[in-house]
Amino acid sequence: MGRIIRWWPLPVLILLLIYPWVYREPYFHVLGFNVLLFATMATSWNIMGGYTGYKSLGHSAFFGLGAYLVAIAANQLGWNPLWSSPILALVVTLVAFGLGWIMVRTSGSAFVIATIAMLLIFRLLALNLRGITNGAPGLSQPLPPWTPEFSRMPFYYYMLIWLIIAVATSAYIRHSRFGLGLLAMHDDEGKAEMVGVHTTLYKVLAFGVSAYFVGLGGGVWSYFSTHISPVFAFDIIVGVEMILMTMLGGLGTVWGPVLGAFIFIPASDLILFQFGSTTIHLAILGGLMIFILLFLPRGILPTISHWLEERRTPRTAHTGARSMAEMQDKRSAAVTSEIKPAGDYDPVIINNKQETL
C-alpha cells in the first residue's frame, strides 16, 4: 500500500502530459503554462522562505532580472530563450549570492523590507538604464518560430520539465545535510550556529539557489509574453503570489508550493473572469491571504499530515510518563536515594539558591 502511494506523482504526471491534448483551446494552454511557471517559482522560493524561514518579498527582482537578461540576449546576440534561460538564470543566481551575502545579515521583518528595497532598486534600474533596457516602454522579443496554433504548447511542456527539475532539487536539498541545517536554522538560528552550522553561508547558498528557478521562470515568461516592461517584470505581486501559494499548500514542504500553485492560479483566473478587468481580484486575493493565515496557518499539506498523525497515534503514547518509568527501571539503584548533601556546608546557601529550581 505504502509502495503504491509513493508512486502517486506518476499518474499526475501522465495527466499533465495529456492535458494540452484534452483541452485544446489556447486559453487552457496559457492557464497550464502559468500554473507550471508559478509552481516552479514557488518551489524555488520555498527553499529560502519555507525551509529557512527567511521570507523574501522581493523575489520578483530575480524574475525581472531573468526576463531582461533573456530578452537582451535574444535581441543583441540572437540567443534563443529556450536554451539561454537556464544559462542566464545562473547569472541571476550569482547576483543573488552577492546580494544575499549583504541581506542575510538582517533577519525577521528587516529582511523582508531589505528584499522589497532590492526589488525597487532593480525596478528603478530597469526604468532608467534606457540604453540597455529601453526604459519604460520595455523590450520586445522575436516571436517563437513554431506555428501559431501550437504557440503555447511548447512552453507548457518546457515548463513541465523545469517543474520536475525544481521539485527534484527542492526534495534533494530537503533530505541533504544542507537542508537539515536550513530546517534547524528555521527553528533556532542561534542554537544552530552554536552546534556548528555555518548559518551565514547556508543562508547565502539557499538565497542563491532559490533565485535560480525564479530567474529561469522570468526568462521563459519573457519569451512567452514576447514583450516585457519594468512595471510587469518587476511587479511585487509576482513575488507575493509565490508566497501565497506556498503558504496555501504548506510552507517548508516539498509538494506544498506545487499544490498551492495548482489551486491558486486557476482560482485567481476564475476570480478575474468573474469581475472582468478591474483590480477587484487583487482585493479578493488579499482576502484569501487573510483567510489562509487565519484558518490554515500551516497550509494544506501540514494540516493533513498533522491530522493523520493525530489519528494514528493516541494522545497518551508519547508523553514523559513512559520514558521516566523505563529510566527508573534501568537505574533503580540510583533513583532510590534522594540527593544527599555532600559534606557539611552552610545550608543557608542551598535555601538561598534553590529558588531557581
Binding site: 552546534v195 556546608y345 538561598n352
Partner: protein, 244 residues
C-alpha cells in the same frame, strides 16, 4: 594537569554595567569544574564570551593554548567546544533523531550535499539516545517531549560532535530529583571517558557533589576557587551569597 580552557582578563560591559570584570579562569583537562555565584554575577555572560556569542571588550579566551577569542561560534563546535543553554534550546519541529544529527562535526562543501544522515551517524545517535533513555522517541518532534526529556536531548545532542569540553548552563535547573541524579551520573560517566566539563549550577548540593574544582564569581570577578570543601567554608564566598 594542563589547562584545556583558560581566559585572560576578560572584560565585558553592557552600558554602565560591567558584567564580566577582568576575569581569568582555568579549566583543567579532565576536570568537572563548577562555576557558581549569586544571580547576576556574570556566569552566563562568561559562557557567552567563551562561546563567541558576545565579543569581549578586552581580554582573550584560549582553548589548548590556542586563541579562540574571535573564532565564530559555529567553528568552536568543530574544535571540540560545545555548550547547552540555561533555557533549553532545541530544533522544535525536527525529530529527536534529526536534533541529534545537526551537531555533527562536519566541514567542507561536499558534505553539505551528502545525505542528511549517514548510517554511522544514525548508529551513534541511537546509541547516545539509548544512554539517556530517549531511543523510543526518536521519530517524535522535539516539541512533544517533556521538559526533562528535552534537557536530556539537548545534552545528548551536543555529545554527537564528540566535544572535549562541554559548558553546561544549569543542567539541574527545573528538573526533578530523579532526573538530577540521572544527569549527574551521566556527567560523571562521560567525564570518566575523557570529557571535561564546566558547569554553572545553582543547586549547591549538585555542585558540591559533582565538581572537583569550583570557581566563584561575584560582580563579574572571580572571588575564590578551590575544591568543594574549601569553598563551602570560605568566608568571602559566604559573604558574597549572604550579603553584608
Amino acid at each position: 594537569m594542563t589547562p584545556l580552557l583558560h581566559t585572560e582578563n576578560l572584560v565585558r560591559r553592557f552600558g554602565g554595567i560591567t558584567a564580566v570584570n577582568d576575569c581569568s579562569i582555568i579549566v583543567e583537562e579532565g576536570s568537572i569544574t563548577g562555576l557558581i555565584g549569586p544571580n547576576g554575577s556574570g556566569k552566563t555572560t562568561l559562557f557567552n564570551l567563551i562561546t563567541s556569542i558576545y565579543k569581549p571588550d578586552s581580554g582573550n579566551v584560549y582553548l589548548r593554548q590556542k586563541k579562540i577569542t574571535q573564532v565564530p561560534s559555529h567553528q568552536l563546535c568543530h574544535q571540540g567546544l560545545s555548550r547547552t543553554f540555561q533555557i533549553t534550546r532545541l530544533f522544535w519541529d525536527l525529530s529527536v533523531l534529526e536534533n541529534m544529527i545537526v551537531p555533527v562535526r562536519q566541514v567542507g562543501f561536499r558534505s553539505l550535499l551528502g545525505p542528511g544522515m549517514h548510517r554511522y551517524e544514525e548508529v551513534r545517535a541511537l546509541d547516545l539516545l539509548e544512554r539517556v533513555g530517549l531511543e523510543h522517541l526518536k521519530n517524535q518532534p522535539a516539541r512533544k517531549l517533556s521538559f526533562g526529556q528535552q534537557k536530556l536531548l539537548e545534552f545528548a545532542a551536543i555529545l554527537m560532535s564528540e566535544p572535549d569540553l562541554v559548558l553546561l548552563d544549569e543542567p539541574a535547573g527545573g528538573v526533578n530529583p530523579t532526573m538530577i541524579r540521572f544527569i549527574m551520573d551521566l556527567i560523571r560517566s562521560l567525564n570518566q571517558e575523557g570529557v571535561t566539563f564546566l558547569v554553572v549550577e545553582h543547586n549547591m548540593s549538585v555542585v558540591m557533589e559533582l565538581c572537583d574544582h569550583i570557581l566563584v564569581l561575584d560582580q563579574g570577578q572571580k572571588i575564590a576557587e578551590g575544591p568543594p570543601h574549601i569553598i563551602q567554608s570560605d568566608p568571602i564566598v559566604l559573604e558574597a551569597y549572604l550579603g553584608d
